[in-house]
């Protein structure tokens, strides 16, 4: 009898134990999902716009098949409409133009002379759209190319969408040298906690010396270049008041690499809102924009940002 009772007790306890073992009171955070849901990732080149002109098809591919405010890498393909074969084009140029509500025309940082990539059968370039398309402004692409000695010119309205990924934000500002600059984040699209290679493009608007002349577009009015030899000093911080101006160690300032872009290292210690505080120095090490942010720990106070900064989120 005693044994029977004890066997029952044993059974009871086994059940209780297995229940207790199987169930945690609170679920663990799904970390992969935590860092996954926030960002829209652009990982595949798809056709964003197709133009047919005089027997040739021009196809421009961008990540996700759309143009977004900020940095857009583009791939341009030209095929013969009849044969559907790759056309032997050269001197491919690319110019984005924005027309605002008043009819004024602007451009944005872009690569005018696209680079031929014969192995991949496309022409490569980029465009840093400074605004999304809206009632206040629309974007048009001016493209020209030469095939068999003849130059073709096409233009096409495109739609520039709002940047859905805060990690690809951009900023526009005037430096102390009175030049207009653009900084656009290129990578990482999907930051992770820990070390991230931070890539940004820094561009400058080449102020036209003469008023517009000749046929539109007059290239001298819409000239942008990648600046070279600059340094972008980096100080990442969490602006959230409760984080008290929290920062991270072992970051590396951005310097220009062979691809023309600026590469550095940023460490994110946790997920959440981060501000990338920058100070931009020219070749001579002079500050063109940006202020040193305080590094003291100030709980309860929203972090002071550099006058040159980009907010990201992940």
């Amino acid at each position: 009898m005693v044994k029977g009772m004890n066997m029952k007790t044993l059974k009871f306890y086994t059940i209780v134990l297995s229940l207790a073992v199987a169930s945690c009171t609170k679920d663990k955070t799904d970390y992969e999902a935590e860092i996954d849901t926030v960002v829209t990732e652009y990982d595949e080149f798809k056709e964003a716009v197709a133009i047919r002109s005089e027997g040739y098809d021009v196809s421009i591919e961008a990540l996700n098949g759309a143009f977004y405010k900020g940095y857009n890498e583009i791939r341009l393909k030209i095929t013969n409409s009849q044969t559907n074969e790759k056309a032997d084009a050269s001197a491919v140029t690319f110019l984005p133009i924005k027309t605002d509500a008043e009819g004024s025309k602007f451009s944005c940082p872009h690569l005018y002379d696209l680079v031929s990539r014969p192995d991949d059968s496309y022409f490569s370039g980029y465009s840093v759209f400074t605004d999304e398309s809206s009632t206040n402004g629309s974007w048009e692409l001016y493209i020209s190319f030469t095939i068999a000695g003849r130059t073709y010119a096409v233009k096409q309205n495109v739609s520039v969408q709002e940047q859905a990924n805060k990690n690809l934000n951009m900023t526009t500002f005037t430096g102390k040298d009175d030049e207009q600059y653009f900084i656009a984040l290129v990578s990482p699209q999907r930051p992770k906690v820990g070390e991230n290679e931070l890539v940004a493009g820094i561009y400058k608007f080449n102020k036209p010396i003469n008023p517009p002349s000749g046929d539109f577009p007059d290239l001298s009015q819409f000239s942008y270049t990648e600046v070279s030899g600059y340094t972008l000093q980096l100080d990442p911080r969490m602006p959230e008041p409760s984080m008290g101006n929290h920062s991270s160690p072992n970051n590396k300032d951005l310097t220009q690499q062979g691809d023309g872009l600026y590469h550095g290292l940023v460490n994110y210690t946790m997920t959440g809102n981060w501000t990338l505080n920058f100070i931009m120095l020219n070749q001579k090490g002079q500050i063109l924009k940006g202020t040193v942010v305080p590094d003291d720990f100030t709980p309860g106070v929203e972090g002071v940002k550099s006058e040159l900064h980009i907010d990201i989120l992940f």
Binding site: Y13, E195, E240, S242, P249, G272, N273
Partner: protein
């Protein structure tokens, strides 16, 4: 090495009122009983003063244990003035790791005094039987009733009330023993409110609520073998930690094991005992009851351990040995989710333990050879393999770029001691050498907030092994009426792991003032000395006293933190018929060798006087003891060197308890 034996209580019978069975080193293995090779003292889990003590209070009565206290609950035991990373704390040899990054749940908080039979404390490398250690080992022995007792059923019930913090407790345990089957069960409930300090001020957030139950079932599979399954379930809820900026909402532990024991009648193999175990701990902090908190933060932690411990005892003539294989796999996870003040903003998330796996496998041997009638040589060693794997190593790489995800370490240990007993005198000298691996926090911790020095701590996966060189000695004299013993030990620890201020990085927890990284000091030195004496003044009047002193310095002769100043405990015990009266005095001298670098300030001396009286009576088959007493009788306002945030200790506490055995 000499076992600084504080095997407090070896009786398997626990608190039951059976005729006291002494069966240490029983040569007859006909009956399956606990066989103890190194068993010295016998004591119940109660102190001289108080019969209903918590595990913490009981440990505190040992002379090489001190405590870091963050409140009234879950004290962190320091062995030889070294924190829990440096000692192995096990339950019947099973490794368990707390799930709280802030050490709010030492292993000792997951057991209860009524499911333990003894606590084995072994100092230094002699404690390496359960795994690599520096300070020694604390093994909590669970109750296990022997087979075939004359009385089938036995049990005890204990209840009591403590007036200072309105603690009400009920502890019960029941055992059944037959020739082939044994069962042990226990249940305990403790609930306490805030306590009041010596100025009669309430210490907010010092309440606790604990429930603990255990069950053990053993079946004799043959005259010489048995199987046993054990389980402990512990739940603490709404536990305040006045010294921390957060409390405990809930912690639960389930501790299970299944073991097989085989005795041998002939030959040098005596016992072989193998156990498989599993335990899981979950720990959820709660900062919502602290209005001063700017940020709401979730800080859950989980720790899951699987393991194997297999032990064999050998004896031939004057030589005996203990061989133990330890293997375990632990996964420690701790998260921080911070909520922004504007709750519409995104929460912020980081791991404070980024899914850190620790695997350990080690073989330990302890030998003892009685090579003459008066002298004994103890020697042994252990060799362990320690492996760490950090699943989300990106967190660790922020401060330690490029650090590997995995790390293996070899942990050797050696020890030897010589004991001499001449007439009423005994002497011993010993030495030891051993490595330990960094703990999960020291190696892989990430922004773990330490409210003592108010720094966020960052682990370093590339830390070197801590290497301990140790020497110890003791001398004692004993006769029928008195005994006196002096013990000293000295540790020279290479690559001593401490937190040092980092110039890089900024705090994450809003209370903190900076970031500290775990680094290795070139070396540190620790010296402990203890003097124990007892004297029976009359047949029923006994006196006991203990004096301890410790000194510890780093490689620049600066002080290390949490080192106990000169301290004393003295007690008188008088019995008259069924009455007993005890009084004790304990205190610390002023802490002069404090360490401002590690957040310490000087702590003044204090002295606490306690008194209690008890009455034993029988009715029918029951034996009952009624006790009343007072701790800190003069309501002294004090805090000790190891009280976090200098939170004051409990003021005068009247207590009553009743214990019934059958």
């Amino acid at each position: 090495m000499k076992k600084l034996c504080i095997t407090f209580f070896v009786l398997v019978l626990g608190m039951n009122a059976h005729a006291q069975h002494t069966h240490e080193q029983s040569d007859s293995t006909k009956r399956l009983e606990e066989v103890k090779i190194t068993a010295i003292a016998k004591r119940k889990i109660e102190t001289e003063l108080k019969m209903a003590v918590s595990v913490d209070e009981f440990l505190a009565s040992s002379d090489n244990i001190s405590f870091i206290k963050r409140g009234a609950y879950a004290w962190e035991p320091l062995l030889n003035n070294m924190s829990t990373e440096r000692s192995t704390i096990t339950i019947d040899g099973m490794h368990i790791f707390g799930a709280c990054t802030d050490k709010m749940d030492p292993v000792t908080s997951y057991v209860e005094s009524n499911n333990l039979s003894a606590i084995d404390i072994t100092s230094g490398q002699a404690g390496s039987l359960h795994g690599a250690t520096v300070a020694g080992s604390i093994d909590l022995k669970r109750k296990s009733t022997p087979f075939g007792l004359e009385k089938n059923w036995s049990g005890a019930y204990q209840t009591g009330f403590e007036f200072n913090n309105n603690q009400f407790f009920n502890l019960g345990n029941l055992s059944y023993s037959s020739d082939r089957f044994v069962a042990d069960g226990s249940m305990a409930l403790r609930k306490a409110g805030n306590y009041y300090d010596g100025n009669n001020d309430e210490v907010n957030h010092s309440q606790y609520n604990k429930f603990n139950t255990s069950l053990g079932l053993a079946y004799k599979t043959s005259p010489l073998s048995s199987v046993r399954v054990d389980a402990i379930y512990d739940r603490a809820k709404d536990v305040g930690f006045p010294a921390l900026p957060m409390d405990l909402w809930l912690s639960r532990a389930i501790i299970t094991s299944a073991s097989y024991k085989q005795l041998f009648e002939d030959g040098m193999w005596r016992v072989w005992d193998t156990k498989l175990y599993f335990n899981a701990v979950e720990h959820y902090m709660d900062d919502t009851k602290r209005p001063e908190n700017l940020v709401h933060m979730d800080m859950p932690g989980w720790s899951t351990t699987y393991g194997l411990v297999s032990r064999a005892n050998l004896k031939r003539g004057d030589y005996s040995a203990e061989i133990q294989l330890n293997a375990y796999d632990n996964l420690s996870i701790a998260e921080m989710t911070m909520y922004p003040q504007d709750r519409s903003n995104k929460t912020m998330f980081a791991y404070s333990w980024p899914w850190v796996t620790t695997r350990f496998a080690g073989l330990s041997v302890n030998n003892s050879w009685d090579f003459s009638a008066v002298s004994r040589l103890n020697f042994g060693g252990s060799l362990g393999w320690n492996y760490n794997y950090s699943k989300y190593v990106e967190f660790n790489r922020i401060f330690h770029p490029g650090t590997p995800r995995e790390k293996s370490r070899l942990l050797p240990g050696l020890h030897a001691s010589y004991q001499l007993n001449v007439h009423q005198f005994d002497f011993s000298v010993g030495t030891g050498y051993g490595h330990r691996a960094p703990s999960v926090s020291e190696g892989y911790g990430y922004y773990i907030y330490n409210s003592f020095d108010r720094y966020d701590y960052i682990g370093n996966p590339d830390l070197k092994n801590e290497i301990s060189y140790e020497a110890n000695a003791s001398a004692g004299f004993r006769n029928e009426r008195m005994g006196i013993e002096a013990k000293v030990n000295y540790f020279h620890i290479q690559n001593y792991i401490v937190g040092r201020i980092l110039s890089l990085g900024s705090p994450m927890n809003y209370q903190s003032v900076g970031v500290k990284g775990y680094t290795s000091l070139n070396h540190a030195r620790l010296f402990n000395v203890a003097l124990n004496a007892n004297y029976d003044m009359l047949q029923h009047l006994h006196w006991k006293g203990t004096l301890t002193y410790a000194r510890a310095t780093d490689d620049k002769n600066g002080n290390l933190p949490f080192i106990r100043p000169l301290s004393y405990q003295t007690s008188l015990h008088f019995m008259y018929g069924k009455f007993g009266i005890q009084t004790s005095l304990n205190g610390d001298f002023a802490q002069e060798n404090y360490s401002p670098e590690y957040g310490e300030d000087p702590t003044p001396a204090y002295m606490v006087w306690n008194i209690s009286a008890d009455y034993t009576f029988n009715f029918t088959n029951f034996k009952a003891v009624l006790q009343v007493g007072a701790e800190n009788l003069f309501n002294e306002y004090y805090s000790t060197y190891a009280d976090w945030g200098n939170i004051p200790r409990m003021g005068r506490n009247m207590f009553t308890s009743l214990k019934i055995n059958f």
